[in-house]
Symmetry: C2
Subunit: 110 residues, 2 copies
């Protein structure tokens, strides 16, 4: 079965939602720390616009990455696993086929 057509059980949907939200929260906390870091290191007030550019890019990137459609979730989790925003433990409880696909995608995205 194509990874886009995988069926998600109620239990799997719960696991997926939790892992997805955790990754999002984690990545947003990192963005917040980066803003503070940039503010602390700022030498000229004009760098505020560099910070704005950084946030514009991150916003696009996050909107693109965090796509919670079931047809996209395996690819999304593959990427999040590759980037370290989720661990294999976060996905524990998904069926073997999904886990294998996620890990394969993760290896490819690294």
């Amino acid at each position: 079965m194509s990874i886009r057509n995988s069926k998600w059980s109620k239990r799997e949907k719960k696991i997926a939602r939790k892992a997805f939200d955790k990754a999002y929260q984690r990545e947003m906390e990192i963005i917040k720390k980066e803003i503070l870091n940039r503010l602390n290191k700022m030498k000229s007030v004009d760098q505020i616009w560099d910070l704005h550019d950084f946030l514009s890019a991150k916003r696009n990137n996050m909107a693109d990455k965090y796509d919670y459609r079931y047809s996209m979730l395996i690819t999304v989790f593959g990427r999040l696993l590759a980037e370290g925003y989720i661990s294999e433990e976060d996905l524990c409880g998904l069926d073997d086929e999904k886990l294998t696909s996620i890990k394969n995608i993760s290896r490819f995205k690294k």
Copy 2:
């Protein structure tokens, strides 16, 4: 003479540049403080996008406001005086006609 066609002496240009830069620096410092304030009060990471919206609006506003064309400077200074980013002392040395126009615009903008 229309305020758009005012002639600026070399000395006046120097005074204008200094007042303009000082106001810009002052306003940018306030924006920087506001970013820190918003980060400190942030209850949810999603508010990072509110901060991004705030910076987008400020960037447009600053680009619009800080227009250093001599044909625009009297209006610009009128607004900056009204908003408190420059004082009358910062403009000391400009000719009386310019000062009167700036103060008139300032009263109108308040």
